[in-house]
Amino acid sequence: MVHQYRSNGYNIVLDVDSGSVHVVDDLVYDIIERVKQDPACPDETVLSEYNGEYPQAEVREALEEVRYLQQHGQLFAQDIYQGAVLDFRKRQTVVKALCLHIAHDCNLACEYCFAEEGEYHGRRALMSYEVGKKALDFLVASSGNRRNLEVDFFGGEPLMNFQVVKDLVAYGRQLEKEADKHFRFTITTNGVLLNDEVMEFCNREMDNVVMSLDGRKDVHNRMRPFRNGKGSYDLIVPKFQKFAAQRKALGKQYYIRGTFTHYNLDFAQDVLHFADLGFDQLSMEPVVAPADAPYAIRPEDIPVICEQYDILAREMLKREKEGRGFTFFHFMIDLSGGPCVYKRLSGCGSGTEYLAVTPWGDLYPCHQFVGNEDFLLGNVDEGIRRTDLVDTFKCCNVYSRKECTKCFARYYCSGGCAANSYNFHGRIDDVYEIGCELERKRVESAIMIKAALADAGGAD
Protein backbone atom coordinates (compact mmCIF):
# COMPACT_ATOMS: atom_id res chain seq x y z
CA MET A 1 0.00 0.00 0.00
CA VAL A 2 1.21 3.48 -0.86
CA HIS A 3 -0.18 6.58 0.84
CA GLN A 4 0.65 9.99 -0.52
CA TYR A 5 -0.35 13.42 0.70
CA ARG A 6 0.66 17.06 0.54
CA SER A 7 1.32 18.94 3.75
CA ASN A 8 2.92 22.31 4.48
CA GLY A 9 4.46 22.44 1.02
CA TYR A 10 5.87 18.89 1.08
CA ASN A 11 4.88 16.00 -1.16
CA ILE A 12 5.10 12.93 1.01
CA VAL A 13 4.92 9.31 -0.05
CA LEU A 14 4.59 6.63 2.59
CA ASP A 15 5.23 3.10 1.45
CA VAL A 16 3.18 1.49 4.16
CA ASP A 17 4.44 -2.09 4.11
CA SER A 18 8.16 -1.32 3.98
CA GLY A 19 7.79 1.70 6.26
CA SER A 20 9.72 3.83 3.77
CA VAL A 21 9.03 7.54 3.76
CA HIS A 22 9.90 9.61 0.69
CA VAL A 23 9.71 13.33 0.04
CA VAL A 24 9.26 13.83 -3.69
CA ASP A 25 8.82 16.58 -6.27
CA ASP A 26 5.56 17.20 -8.12
CA LEU A 27 6.53 15.05 -11.09
CA VAL A 28 7.33 11.96 -9.03
CA TYR A 29 4.24 12.57 -6.93
CA ASP A 30 2.14 12.39 -10.11
CA ILE A 31 4.01 9.38 -11.48
CA ILE A 32 3.56 7.42 -8.24
CA GLU A 33 -0.13 8.22 -8.31
CA ARG A 34 -0.25 6.80 -11.84
CA VAL A 35 1.92 3.75 -11.16
CA LYS A 36 -0.07 3.01 -8.01
CA GLN A 37 -3.01 2.04 -10.19
CA ASP A 38 -0.89 -0.63 -11.86
CA PRO A 39 2.64 -1.05 -10.46
CA ALA A 40 3.52 -3.47 -13.28
CA CYS A 41 2.52 -1.17 -16.13
CA PRO A 42 5.25 -0.75 -18.80
CA ASP A 43 7.45 2.34 -18.59
CA GLU A 44 6.59 3.34 -22.14
CA THR A 45 2.92 3.56 -21.19
CA VAL A 46 3.68 5.86 -18.30
CA LEU A 47 6.04 8.00 -20.42
CA SER A 48 3.49 8.41 -23.17
CA GLU A 49 0.93 9.69 -20.68
CA TYR A 50 3.23 12.52 -19.63
CA ASN A 51 4.07 13.56 -23.18
CA GLY A 52 4.16 17.36 -23.31
CA GLU A 53 3.56 18.18 -19.69
CA TYR A 54 7.21 17.71 -18.65
CA PRO A 55 10.40 17.28 -20.74
CA GLN A 56 10.54 13.62 -21.73
CA ALA A 57 14.08 13.16 -20.37
CA GLU A 58 12.98 14.42 -17.00
CA VAL A 59 9.98 12.11 -16.91
CA ARG A 60 12.24 9.19 -17.79
CA GLU A 61 14.68 10.15 -15.05
CA ALA A 62 11.90 10.47 -12.47
CA LEU A 63 10.39 7.17 -13.49
CA GLU A 64 13.79 5.49 -13.17
CA GLU A 65 14.02 6.72 -9.60
CA VAL A 66 10.55 5.35 -8.87
CA ARG A 67 11.48 1.98 -10.39
CA TYR A 68 14.71 1.92 -8.40
CA LEU A 69 12.81 2.25 -5.14
CA GLN A 70 10.32 -0.32 -6.33
CA GLN A 71 13.10 -2.80 -7.12
CA HIS A 72 14.76 -2.20 -3.76
CA GLY A 73 11.64 -2.84 -1.71
CA GLN A 74 11.05 0.77 -0.77
CA LEU A 75 8.00 1.40 -2.88
CA PHE A 76 5.00 -0.84 -3.57
CA ALA A 77 6.42 -3.34 -1.10
CA GLN A 78 4.17 -6.25 -0.27
CA ASP A 79 2.63 -7.05 3.07
CA ILE A 80 4.58 -10.16 4.03
CA TYR A 81 3.72 -10.07 7.71
CA GLN A 82 0.38 -11.80 7.92
CA GLY A 83 1.98 -15.24 8.25
CA ALA A 84 4.22 -13.91 10.96
CA VAL A 85 1.20 -12.76 12.91
CA LEU A 86 -0.26 -16.23 12.86
CA ASP A 87 2.99 -17.52 14.34
CA PHE A 88 3.03 -14.61 16.71
CA ARG A 89 -0.38 -15.57 18.04
CA LYS A 90 0.97 -18.93 19.10
CA ARG A 91 3.79 -17.31 21.01
CA GLN A 92 4.17 -17.70 24.73
CA THR A 93 3.56 -14.25 26.12
CA VAL A 94 5.09 -12.94 29.31
CA VAL A 95 3.99 -10.08 31.52
CA LYS A 96 6.42 -7.19 31.38
CA ALA A 97 4.45 -4.18 32.58
CA LEU A 98 2.04 -3.43 35.39
CA CYS A 99 -0.13 -0.43 36.00
CA LEU A 100 -0.46 -0.36 39.77
CA HIS A 101 -3.61 1.38 40.94
CA ILE A 102 -1.93 2.51 44.07
CA ALA A 103 -4.89 4.68 45.11
CA HIS A 104 -8.49 4.48 44.05
CA ASP A 105 -9.07 7.89 45.45
CA CYS A 106 -8.36 11.38 44.23
CA ASN A 107 -8.13 14.90 45.59
CA LEU A 108 -9.51 16.33 42.35
CA ALA A 109 -12.87 15.77 40.71
CA CYS A 110 -12.03 15.91 37.03
CA GLU A 111 -15.19 15.96 34.99
CA TYR A 112 -13.99 13.53 32.32
CA CYS A 113 -12.17 11.05 34.56
CA PHE A 114 -12.68 7.50 33.34
CA ALA A 115 -11.83 6.45 36.87
CA GLU A 116 -14.85 8.41 38.15
CA GLU A 117 -12.97 10.64 40.56
CA GLY A 118 -10.49 7.87 41.17
CA GLU A 119 -12.92 5.23 42.30
CA TYR A 120 -13.30 3.18 39.11
CA HIS A 121 -16.99 2.44 39.59
CA GLY A 122 -16.16 0.87 42.94
CA ARG A 123 -15.08 1.87 46.39
CA ARG A 124 -12.32 4.15 47.51
CA ALA A 125 -9.25 2.17 48.47
CA LEU A 126 -5.50 2.42 48.83
CA MET A 127 -3.21 -0.42 47.83
CA SER A 128 -1.42 -1.97 50.77
CA TYR A 129 2.29 -2.71 50.73
CA GLU A 130 1.48 -6.43 50.94
CA VAL A 131 -0.68 -6.36 47.82
CA GLY A 132 1.92 -4.27 45.98
CA LYS A 133 4.68 -6.69 46.92
CA LYS A 134 2.65 -9.61 45.60
CA ALA A 135 2.09 -7.67 42.38
CA LEU A 136 5.83 -7.15 41.90
CA ASP A 137 6.49 -10.81 42.73
CA PHE A 138 3.82 -11.81 40.19
CA LEU A 139 5.46 -9.58 37.59
CA VAL A 140 8.92 -11.06 38.12
CA ALA A 141 7.52 -14.60 38.13
CA SER A 142 5.52 -13.99 34.95
CA SER A 143 8.21 -12.18 32.99
CA GLY A 144 10.23 -15.13 31.69
CA ASN A 145 13.54 -14.02 30.24
CA ARG A 146 12.40 -10.42 29.81
CA ARG A 147 14.78 -8.22 31.73
CA ASN A 148 13.25 -4.76 31.45
CA LEU A 149 10.09 -4.55 33.53
CA GLU A 150 7.85 -1.52 33.84
CA VAL A 151 5.74 -0.45 36.77
CA ASP A 152 3.55 2.63 36.60
CA PHE A 153 2.13 4.09 39.78
CA PHE A 154 -1.31 5.20 38.75
CA GLY A 155 -4.62 6.07 40.32
CA GLY A 156 -6.70 7.92 41.22
CA GLU A 157 -3.89 9.99 42.59
CA PRO A 158 -0.90 7.85 43.56
CA LEU A 159 0.62 10.48 45.84
CA MET A 160 -2.31 9.89 48.19
CA ASN A 161 -0.48 6.65 48.99
CA PHE A 162 3.11 7.86 48.67
CA GLN A 163 4.57 5.80 51.50
CA VAL A 164 3.55 2.59 49.71
CA VAL A 165 5.03 3.94 46.47
CA LYS A 166 8.34 4.46 48.25
CA ASP A 167 8.23 1.07 49.93
CA LEU A 168 7.42 -0.72 46.69
CA VAL A 169 10.26 0.99 44.84
CA ALA A 170 12.63 -0.15 47.60
CA TYR A 171 11.25 -3.68 47.32
CA GLY A 172 11.61 -3.56 43.54
CA ARG A 173 15.26 -2.53 43.81
CA GLN A 174 15.84 -5.54 46.05
CA LEU A 175 14.05 -7.84 43.58
CA GLU A 176 16.15 -6.49 40.73
CA LYS A 177 19.29 -7.91 42.27
CA GLU A 178 17.77 -11.23 43.24
CA ALA A 179 16.11 -11.89 39.90
CA ASP A 180 18.46 -10.03 37.51
CA LYS A 181 15.72 -7.73 36.32
CA HIS A 182 15.58 -4.02 35.70
CA PHE A 183 12.56 -2.05 36.86
CA ARG A 184 11.54 1.14 35.15
CA PHE A 185 9.25 2.97 37.51
CA THR A 186 6.95 5.75 36.36
CA ILE A 187 4.28 7.80 38.08
CA THR A 188 1.31 9.83 36.89
CA THR A 189 0.25 12.67 39.17
CA ASN A 190 -2.11 15.61 39.31
CA GLY A 191 0.49 17.55 41.29
CA VAL A 192 -1.67 18.51 44.27
CA LEU A 193 0.53 16.69 46.80
CA LEU A 194 3.84 17.34 45.09
CA ASN A 195 6.48 18.63 47.46
CA ASP A 196 10.26 18.68 47.71
CA GLU A 197 10.44 15.21 49.25
CA VAL A 198 8.31 13.70 46.47
CA MET A 199 10.32 15.47 43.78
CA GLU A 200 13.63 14.36 45.24
CA PHE A 201 12.42 10.76 45.47
CA CYS A 202 10.98 10.73 41.95
CA ASN A 203 14.09 12.34 40.48
CA ARG A 204 16.10 9.51 41.96
CA GLU A 205 13.78 6.59 41.22
CA MET A 206 11.32 7.35 38.43
CA ASP A 207 12.27 6.86 34.79
CA ASN A 208 9.37 9.04 33.76
CA VAL A 209 6.91 11.31 35.49
CA VAL A 210 3.62 12.24 33.87
CA MET A 211 2.14 15.48 35.18
CA SER A 212 -1.50 16.13 34.39
CA LEU A 213 -2.27 19.65 33.21
CA ASP A 214 -4.85 20.59 30.60
CA GLY A 215 -3.55 23.90 29.34
CA ARG A 216 -4.70 27.46 29.78
CA LYS A 217 -5.96 28.32 33.24
CA ASP A 218 -9.65 28.51 32.38
CA VAL A 219 -9.49 25.32 30.31
CA HIS A 220 -7.69 23.42 33.06
CA ASN A 221 -9.87 24.67 35.90
CA ARG A 222 -13.09 23.90 34.09
CA MET A 223 -12.30 20.19 33.85
CA ARG A 224 -9.87 19.66 36.74
CA PRO A 225 -11.37 21.28 39.86
CA PHE A 226 -11.05 20.23 43.47
CA ARG A 227 -14.07 18.52 44.97
CA ASN A 228 -15.25 21.91 46.26
CA GLY A 229 -15.30 23.23 42.69
CA LYS A 230 -12.22 25.44 43.00
CA GLY A 231 -9.71 25.23 40.17
CA SER A 232 -6.36 23.49 40.70
CA TYR A 233 -4.22 25.41 38.17
CA ASP A 234 -2.65 27.97 40.51
CA LEU A 235 -1.61 25.35 43.03
CA ILE A 236 -0.02 22.86 40.68
CA VAL A 237 1.62 24.89 37.89
CA PRO A 238 4.48 26.35 39.98
CA LYS A 239 5.18 22.87 41.37
CA PHE A 240 5.20 21.30 37.92
CA GLN A 241 7.54 24.04 36.69
CA LYS A 242 9.97 23.36 39.49
CA PHE A 243 9.73 19.58 39.03
CA ALA A 244 10.18 19.76 35.25
CA ALA A 245 13.17 22.09 35.56
CA GLN A 246 14.83 19.67 37.96
CA ARG A 247 14.22 16.69 35.70
CA LYS A 248 15.43 18.59 32.68
CA ALA A 249 18.65 19.49 34.48
CA LEU A 250 19.12 15.84 35.38
CA GLY A 251 18.38 14.67 31.83
CA LYS A 252 15.34 12.73 33.09
CA GLN A 253 12.14 12.21 31.18
CA TYR A 254 8.84 13.83 32.10
CA TYR A 255 5.64 14.70 30.31
CA ILE A 256 3.19 17.47 30.81
CA ARG A 257 0.10 15.61 29.73
CA GLY A 258 -3.22 17.20 28.97
CA THR A 259 -6.61 16.05 27.85
CA PHE A 260 -8.60 18.10 25.38
CA THR A 261 -12.35 17.91 24.99
CA HIS A 262 -15.14 19.36 22.90
CA TYR A 263 -14.87 22.44 25.14
CA ASN A 264 -11.37 23.35 23.95
CA LEU A 265 -11.14 22.30 20.36
CA ASP A 266 -8.50 25.03 19.92
CA PHE A 267 -6.21 22.81 21.98
CA ALA A 268 -3.10 23.81 20.01
CA GLN A 269 -3.21 26.97 22.12
CA ASP A 270 -3.12 24.82 25.24
CA VAL A 271 -0.07 22.91 24.03
CA LEU A 272 1.64 26.20 23.21
CA HIS A 273 0.66 27.45 26.65
CA PHE A 274 2.60 24.51 28.12
CA ALA A 275 5.61 25.54 26.06
CA ASP A 276 5.20 29.16 27.15
CA LEU A 277 5.26 28.01 30.77
CA GLY A 278 8.71 26.57 30.09
CA PHE A 279 7.80 22.90 29.62
CA ASP A 280 9.37 21.08 26.69
CA GLN A 281 8.11 17.46 26.81
CA LEU A 282 4.43 17.71 26.03
CA SER A 283 1.47 15.47 25.40
CA MET A 284 -2.17 16.27 24.73
CA GLU A 285 -4.75 13.53 24.26
CA PRO A 286 -8.31 13.62 23.01
CA VAL A 287 -10.75 12.81 25.80
CA VAL A 288 -12.10 9.27 26.06
CA ALA A 289 -15.78 9.67 26.86
CA PRO A 290 -19.21 8.20 26.18
CA ALA A 291 -20.58 9.65 22.95
CA ASP A 292 -23.41 11.42 24.80
CA ALA A 293 -21.15 13.27 27.25
CA PRO A 294 -21.30 17.04 26.61
CA TYR A 295 -17.51 17.26 26.49
CA ALA A 296 -17.06 14.24 24.17
CA ILE A 297 -15.33 14.65 20.83
CA ARG A 298 -17.96 14.49 18.07
CA PRO A 299 -17.52 13.41 14.46
CA GLU A 300 -18.09 17.00 13.31
CA ASP A 301 -15.14 18.12 15.48
CA ILE A 302 -12.66 16.10 13.42
CA PRO A 303 -11.86 18.76 10.77
CA VAL A 304 -11.36 21.37 13.49
CA ILE A 305 -9.02 19.08 15.41
CA CYS A 306 -7.07 18.20 12.26
CA GLU A 307 -6.57 21.89 11.57
CA GLN A 308 -5.29 22.29 15.13
CA TYR A 309 -2.70 19.59 14.51
CA ASP A 310 -1.58 21.52 11.42
CA ILE A 311 -1.32 24.75 13.41
CA LEU A 312 0.64 22.98 16.12
CA ALA A 313 3.01 21.28 13.67
CA ARG A 314 3.81 24.56 11.91
CA GLU A 315 4.36 26.38 15.20
CA MET A 316 6.61 23.59 16.45
CA LEU A 317 8.79 23.92 13.37
CA LYS A 318 8.93 27.68 13.80
CA ARG A 319 9.97 27.40 17.44
CA GLU A 320 12.51 24.70 16.61
CA LYS A 321 14.17 27.08 14.17
CA GLU A 322 14.16 29.78 16.83
CA GLY A 323 15.96 27.48 19.25
CA ARG A 324 12.99 27.04 21.59
CA GLY A 325 11.65 23.76 20.31
CA PHE A 326 9.70 21.17 22.26
CA THR A 327 8.59 17.60 21.76
CA PHE A 328 4.96 16.62 21.38
CA PHE A 329 4.26 12.99 22.20
CA HIS A 330 1.90 12.32 19.32
CA PHE A 331 4.25 13.84 16.76
CA MET A 332 7.20 11.80 17.89
CA ILE A 333 8.09 9.26 15.29
CA ASP A 334 11.31 7.37 15.02
CA LEU A 335 11.93 6.62 11.36
CA SER A 336 15.35 5.07 11.78
CA GLY A 337 15.15 3.33 15.14
CA GLY A 338 11.44 2.70 15.57
CA PRO A 339 9.88 -0.51 16.73
CA CYS A 340 10.20 -3.76 14.79
CA VAL A 341 7.30 -5.07 12.79
CA TYR A 342 6.29 -7.56 15.49
CA LYS A 343 5.68 -4.74 17.89
CA ARG A 344 3.81 -2.78 15.25
CA LEU A 345 1.54 -5.70 14.50
CA SER A 346 0.78 -6.84 17.98
CA GLY A 347 -0.44 -3.68 19.59
CA CYS A 348 -0.16 -2.26 23.07
CA GLY A 349 0.07 -5.60 24.86
CA SER A 350 -2.99 -5.02 27.03
CA GLY A 351 -4.27 -8.24 28.55
CA THR A 352 -1.05 -10.07 27.76
CA GLU A 353 2.16 -8.15 28.41
CA TYR A 354 0.53 -5.27 30.22
CA LEU A 355 -1.91 -5.64 33.11
CA ALA A 356 -3.52 -3.35 35.63
CA VAL A 357 -3.68 -4.20 39.33
CA THR A 358 -6.41 -2.83 41.61
CA PRO A 359 -5.74 -1.74 45.21
CA TRP A 360 -6.97 -5.13 46.42
CA GLY A 361 -4.89 -7.10 43.91
CA ASP A 362 -7.31 -7.93 41.10
CA LEU A 363 -5.81 -8.12 37.62
CA TYR A 364 -7.40 -6.47 34.57
CA PRO A 365 -6.23 -6.22 30.93
CA CYS A 366 -5.44 -2.52 31.37
CA HIS A 367 -6.30 0.50 33.47
CA GLN A 368 -9.28 1.33 31.27
CA PHE A 369 -10.96 -2.03 31.93
CA VAL A 370 -10.63 -1.79 35.70
CA GLY A 371 -14.02 -2.05 37.35
CA ASN A 372 -15.62 -4.02 34.52
CA GLU A 373 -16.05 -7.46 36.08
CA ASP A 374 -16.36 -9.11 32.67
CA PHE A 375 -12.66 -8.40 32.24
CA LEU A 376 -11.44 -9.55 35.64
CA LEU A 377 -8.50 -11.80 34.74
CA GLY A 378 -7.42 -13.03 38.16
CA ASN A 379 -5.52 -11.68 41.12
CA VAL A 380 -2.02 -11.38 42.51
CA ASP A 381 -2.50 -14.38 44.80
CA GLU A 382 -3.63 -16.89 42.20
CA GLY A 383 -2.36 -15.28 39.02
CA ILE A 384 -4.34 -15.36 35.77
CA ARG A 385 -7.53 -17.44 35.92
CA ARG A 386 -9.18 -16.23 32.72
CA THR A 387 -6.67 -17.58 30.22
CA ASP A 388 -9.47 -17.50 27.63
CA LEU A 389 -9.58 -13.71 27.93
CA VAL A 390 -5.82 -13.47 27.66
CA ASP A 391 -6.01 -15.50 24.45
CA THR A 392 -8.62 -13.10 23.10
CA PHE A 393 -6.35 -10.15 23.78
CA LYS A 394 -3.40 -12.00 22.29
CA CYS A 395 -5.29 -12.26 19.03
CA CYS A 396 -5.84 -8.50 18.84
CA ASN A 397 -3.61 -7.23 16.08
CA VAL A 398 -3.82 -5.18 12.93
CA TYR A 399 -5.18 -8.11 10.93
CA SER A 400 -7.98 -8.84 13.35
CA ARG A 401 -9.58 -5.49 12.53
CA LYS A 402 -10.73 -5.34 8.94
CA GLU A 403 -10.66 -1.53 8.84
CA CYS A 404 -6.92 -1.64 9.55
CA THR A 405 -6.15 -3.58 6.38
CA LYS A 406 -7.21 -0.49 4.41
CA CYS A 407 -5.46 2.04 6.64
CA PHE A 408 -2.03 3.53 5.98
CA ALA A 409 -1.46 4.24 9.69
CA ARG A 410 -1.83 0.65 10.85
CA TYR A 411 1.85 0.14 11.69
CA TYR A 412 1.90 3.33 13.76
CA CYS A 413 -1.09 2.74 16.03
CA SER A 414 -0.92 -1.03 15.79
CA GLY A 415 -4.66 -1.44 15.51
CA GLY A 416 -5.65 1.05 18.14
CA CYS A 417 -6.86 0.85 21.68
CA ALA A 418 -8.84 -2.24 22.72
CA ALA A 419 -10.62 -0.30 25.46
CA ASN A 420 -11.75 2.41 23.05
CA SER A 421 -13.02 -0.29 20.72
CA TYR A 422 -14.91 -1.97 23.55
CA ASN A 423 -16.42 1.28 24.79
CA PHE A 424 -17.83 2.17 21.40
CA HIS A 425 -18.63 -1.22 19.89
CA GLY A 426 -18.83 -3.69 22.76
CA ARG A 427 -15.91 -5.73 21.44
CA ILE A 428 -12.17 -5.36 21.72
CA ASP A 429 -11.21 -6.11 18.12
CA ASP A 430 -13.10 -3.31 16.42
CA VAL A 431 -11.92 0.27 15.90
CA TYR A 432 -12.91 3.64 17.36
CA GLU A 433 -13.44 5.68 14.22
CA ILE A 434 -12.84 9.15 15.65
CA GLY A 435 -9.61 7.90 17.21
CA CYS A 436 -8.56 6.45 13.84
CA GLU A 437 -9.17 9.73 12.00
CA LEU A 438 -7.09 11.62 14.52
CA GLU A 439 -4.33 9.02 14.52
CA ARG A 440 -4.04 9.26 10.72
CA LYS A 441 -3.75 13.02 10.95
CA ARG A 442 -1.11 12.81 13.66
CA VAL A 443 0.98 10.34 11.66
CA GLU A 444 0.80 12.65 8.64
CA SER A 445 1.82 15.63 10.77
CA ALA A 446 4.67 13.74 12.42
CA ILE A 447 6.09 12.69 9.07
CA MET A 448 5.71 16.20 7.66
CA ILE A 449 7.73 17.53 10.60
CA LYS A 450 10.46 14.99 9.80
CA ALA A 451 10.42 16.12 6.17
CA ALA A 452 10.72 19.77 7.17
CA LEU A 453 13.55 19.05 9.60
CA ALA A 454 15.37 17.04 6.94
CA ASP A 455 14.91 19.98 4.62
CA ALA A 456 16.58 22.17 7.21
CA GLY A 457 19.33 19.61 7.67
CA GLY A 458 18.37 18.67 11.18
CA ALA A 459 16.59 15.32 10.93
CA ASP A 460 17.92 11.96 11.99
Binding site: D17, S18, G19, S20, V21, H22, V23, V24, E61, E65, V66, L69, G73, Q74, I80, F88, V94, K96, A97, R146, N148, E150, D152, F154, R184, N208, V210, Y255, R257, E285, P286, F329, F331, I333, D334, L335, S336, G337, G338, P339, C340, V341, Y342, K343, R344, C348, G349, S350, E353, H367, Q368, Y411, Y412, C413, S414, C417, N420, G435, E439, A451
Partner: protein, 47 residues
Protein backbone atom coordinates in the same frame (compact mmCIF):
# COMPACT_ATOMS: atom_id res chain seq x y z
CA UNK B 1 18.43 10.97 -6.35
CA UNK B 2 17.27 14.17 -7.94
CA UNK B 3 13.54 13.88 -7.50
CA UNK B 4 13.23 11.81 -4.32
CA UNK B 5 14.60 12.15 -0.81
CA UNK B 6 14.14 9.08 1.40
CA UNK B 7 13.89 9.88 5.09
CA UNK B 8 14.16 6.59 6.90
CA UNK B 9 16.79 3.93 7.08
CA UNK B 10 15.03 1.07 8.85
CA UNK B 11 12.97 -1.29 6.72
CA UNK B 12 10.04 -2.99 8.38
CA UNK B 13 10.74 -6.08 6.31
CA UNK B 14 14.32 -6.17 7.58
CA UNK B 15 13.09 -5.77 11.15
CA UNK B 16 11.15 -8.99 10.72
CA UNK B 17 14.41 -10.95 10.60
CA UNK B 18 15.81 -9.74 13.91
CA UNK B 19 12.83 -8.25 15.71
CA UNK B 20 10.48 -9.52 18.35
CA UNK B 21 12.76 -9.52 21.41
CA UNK B 22 10.03 -7.75 23.37
CA UNK B 23 12.35 -5.68 25.54
CA UNK B 24 10.82 -2.42 24.35
CA UNK B 25 8.58 -0.22 26.41
CA UNK B 26 4.89 -1.00 26.70
CA UNK B 27 3.13 1.76 24.85
CA UNK B 28 0.60 2.76 27.50
CA UNK B 29 3.36 3.15 30.08
CA UNK B 30 4.52 6.30 28.35
CA UNK B 31 2.50 9.47 28.20
CA UNK B 32 -0.69 8.32 26.62
CA UNK B 33 -2.89 5.98 28.66
CA UNK B 34 -5.85 6.57 26.38
CA UNK B 35 -4.76 5.81 22.83
CA UNK B 36 -2.43 3.37 21.18
CA UNK B 37 0.74 4.95 19.91
CA UNK B 38 3.40 2.48 18.94
CA UNK B 39 5.18 4.13 16.02
CA UNK B 40 6.81 6.74 18.21
CA UNK B 41 8.59 4.23 20.39
CA UNK B 42 12.19 3.29 20.17
CA UNK B 43 13.56 -0.18 19.57
CA UNK B 44 15.52 -1.30 22.61
CA UNK B 45 18.17 -2.85 20.35
CA UNK B 46 18.76 0.46 18.59
CA UNK B 47 19.33 2.55 21.69
Amino acid sequence: MKHIKTLNTRSLQESMKKGGCGECQTSCQSACKTSCTVGNQTCEQKK
